[in-house]
């Protein structure tokens, strides 16, 4: 029954999406209303139905059987809906239709042609993804004969951060679809209606960028707490696949400000909007086709890869050729001074695109080599750290200066007076932190000073409450400063110790003495575990904390996971992972001393808050427009 209903709802979504494409072409408002709402409701229902099946453990559905189990906690039964390929496609469609609805809400008589064209393109994208789901990844396939229980869910994915990571990431990726549609609509129409398309594009880009940021951050949180490798970013192809649209999104967001203020760079923004979404889709392609292996690899199926690739070719081919033909109209000669706010944004733009290209090259380089020479190589952290990271340093420097500079042209004589307070503040804070951590290398010193540079600039402007600054921007930039502080600190001052410990022996890391007290068996809702018990003392022999890392065994999926145990404060994390071992020879224990990690998460959260403030401010702007 459920399978029929689910398939019916999916077909209904497909029907509405195709209809929306045609009625938007004709710009018939009444029919557009019906199709947009119909599409939203049918997608909501089909997603809700799959979620309901997961919650009640309806094992007559193959997708539930393969990914769920009655003993799974309710929270993970729900997140299990998008923890697999088929269900995640359904979520992707749902997010697409929600953005579709928001675009529709902007419709009025002044912009009707423009919005209708945008909805037409959005309908085309949605149709493509619904077709993909129905043809290659149907979540409503029947399980026959019905089973008493399911196969269970990959336990490494049972983590609160990871449970909400995909929906946030999808809001990011799919948000760029709206920017893409607006860009293509603008190019097609030649902007005869004289609508300020950039004002419409901005809230979508802001939303996409904000949610992509927090989505990526949660992925890093998961990697840090769940994988037990002591780090939070590994330059894995799929991490890169989310980082690249983020970089282009950052460039896009800032160039849009220049377009708003100066009407310059319009063609550039149109191209960035197209590329940001194409990179999002290519990211999906890399994950779902199995062309690259990574920690994220879903089920490998070449037919899916070919479909997504064909669809990407269609979207990219159409939009980029259109850009090649029509963007000339959007070139203008509103040149501006380099030494000004818009000049600094432009420099950052170029740097972001260069970083993105560098990451892109590193990610696909193994594929290029394999295609042309049949050799296999892997490109990892050393490449990215020595290419992408150094380009980030000037970008951060400019980011610190940019917001202080005036629009149009900055008086060079005034600049010194302007930056003096933040230079002083940066000096004090950097001096303080280097006296605590006392370790010096070029990238480290540069990173820390730049982080404080950003932080002090934004704190000072926030403190002065200057009217002509966007509060969302200041908050987000402050978050970036804290993020850089955390990233730099945890990269340059990390200490690692891997040793074999027997009960009642100890290990030393930084100023901490860690004693292995005992090891016990523990039982969880759907796993059994070996739990180590460690007591941490500081140099004065005071007990700091007790840490209890676990090795879990999930009998249903027959898999093991390691649960790191972490003690966090504002200055550092102590991170313990329990490895293999036995009573006679002791256990392998990995201990990490990770300074300032907490600031990465705080920074990301503050960026998110800044993004939300900006979105609401920009929505107000649009309301005034209509």
């Amino acid at each position: 029954m459920t399978t029929y209903l689910g398939n019916f709802l999916l077909s209904l979504s497909l029907f509405f999406a195709i209809s929306q494409f045609f009625v938007s072409k004709k710009n018939k408002f009444k029919f557009i209303t019906i199709t947009v709402n119909g599409l939203l409701i049918s997608s909501l229902l089909s997603f809700g139905l799959l979620m309901y099946s997961h919650i009640i453990s309806d094992f007559s559905i193959l997708n539930v059987f393969q990914n769920s189990h009655t003993t799974k906690p309710l929270f993970y039964k729900i997140s299990g809906v998008w923890g697999n390929h088929e269900g995640s496609m359904l979520l992707w469609i749902l997010v697409l239709t929600i953005f579709n609805y928001f675009i529709f809400k902007l419709y009025n008589k002044n912009n009707s042609i423009f919005i209708a064209k945008t909805l037409e393109i959005q309908a085309f994208i949605t149709t493509g993804f619904i077709l993909f789901t129905i043809l290659t990844s149907n979540p409503f396939q029947r399980m026959f004969p019905e089973q008493a229980n399911g196969l269970g869910f990959n336990p490494i994915l049972q983590d609160p951060a990871l449970a909400i990571h995909p929906p946030l990431l999808y809001i990011g990726y799919v948000g760029f679809s709206a920017a893409f549609s607006i860009s293509v609509a603008t190019l097609t129409l030649n902007n005869n209606e004289k609508v300020p398309w950039y004002n419409y594009m901005k809230p979508f880009v802001l939303a996409a960028w904000t949610f992509l940021t927090i989505g990526i951050a949660l992925g890093a949180v998961w990697a840090y707490y769940e994988l037990g490798w002591g780090g939070w970013w590994f330059w894995d192809p799929v991490e890169n696949a989310s980082f690249m649209p983020w970089l282009l999104g950052t460039a896009l967001l800032h160039s849009l400000i220049i377009v708003e203020k100066r009407k310059s760079l319009q063609a550039w923004v149109l191209l960035l909007a197209i590329l940001a979404f194409l990179l999002s889709v290519i990211g999906t392609f890399l994950v779902r086709s199995g062309i690259l292996t990574s920690v994220h690899t879903f089920a490998l199926d070449p037919s899916r890869g070919i479909y997504i690739l064909a669809f990407t070719a269609l979207l990219g081919g159409y939009s980029l050729v259109l850009f090649g033909k029509k963007s000339k109209k959007y070139f203008n000669t509103n040149y501006f001074a380099l030494f000004s706010r818009e000049g600094s944004i432009l420099i950052n733009n170029i740097l972001m695109v260069i970083i993105c290209a560098t990451v892109f090259l590193g990610t696909i380089y193994p594929l290029l080599i394999e295609a042309f020479t049949n050799n296999k190589i892997s490109v990892g952290e050393p490449y990215f750290n020595s290419t992408a990271v150094p380009i980030m340093l000037p970008a951060i420097l400019v980011m610190g200066v940019g917001p202080i500079l005036a629009w149009n042209r900055e008086e060079k004589s005034k600049i010194f007076k302007k930056i003096l307070p933040s230079v002083l503040l940066t000096g004090i804070m950097s001096g303080l932190i280097f006296s605590i951590y006392q370790s010096y290398n070029f990238i480290g010193i540069a990173g820390i000073i730049l982080a404080f540079w950003i932080i002090s600039n934004n704190i000072i402007i926030l403190f002065k409450q200057k009217k002509n600054y966007s509060s969302g921007m200041l908050v987000a930039h402050l978050g970036i400063g804290l993020l850089i502080l955390g990233i730099t600190g945890s990269s340059i001052w990390q200490e690692e110790k891997i040793t074999r410990l027997q009960i009642n022996t100890s290990a030393q890391i930084n100023k901490y003495n860690i004693i292995f007290k005992e090891i016990n068996e523990a039982k969880g809702p759907n796993y059994v575990a070996l739990k180590g018990n460690f007591t941490v003392y500081d140099e004065k022999k005071n007990i700091i904390t007790k840490l209890e890392p676990e090795n879990r065994y999930y009998p249903i999926t027959n898999s093991f996971t390691t649960e790191a145990s972490i003690h966090t404060n504002l200055a550092r994390d102590l991170y313990i992972v329990l490895g293999d071992g036995n009573l006679s020879e002791g256990w392998v224990v990995k201990i990490y001393y990770n300074p300032l990690v907490i600031w990465i998460w705080i920074g990301a959260l503050i960026i998110f808050i800044g993004g939300i403030i900006s979105i609401s401010n920009n929505l107000k702007k649009i309301k005034i427009l209509s």
Partner: protein, 176 residues
Amino acid sequence: MKKKLLILPSIFFFIILSIFFYLLIIERNPSELPSNLLNKNVPIFETESLFKNEKFISSQEFKNEIILVNFFATWCKPCRDEHVYIKRFSNKKGIKVIGINYKDNSKKTIKWLKNLGNPYSDVLIDKNGRVAIDWGVYGIPETFIVNSKGIIKYRHVGPITNEIYKKINLIINENE
């Protein structure tokens, strides 16, 4: 001039997509790991044998016949899964099967082999994983085919499945 430059993004885009497309349609296994040891001599090592009292010296053993080397452990579930295939190899003529018992308890191993059947003509003990390092073992189970001249011809990471079983058979026949 400017107009021509505007076509560049679409050209780049299609070049990259064609490479992806090519990689999708050719037969490839992204999880297959190349081994530097391929077509080289087996590493030199010495170790104890589980059932025999004499030392196992690699330079004396790897010659004159095709040898399948299988890294396994009793605590490794996939090793149990592939055990049926290892047994089939031990019944095949013209090939010797050697097991290397990785980081394991010898008593448990003897019991394990008693229960499941012992397909190995010799079981070597690799208590601390030294031998595995010499062979560049990525994760167990892992299987190597060594030809009669002591040269490694094939490496497979992970349990042997039906497909891999057929593939290994082909390689053995080629090297006979």
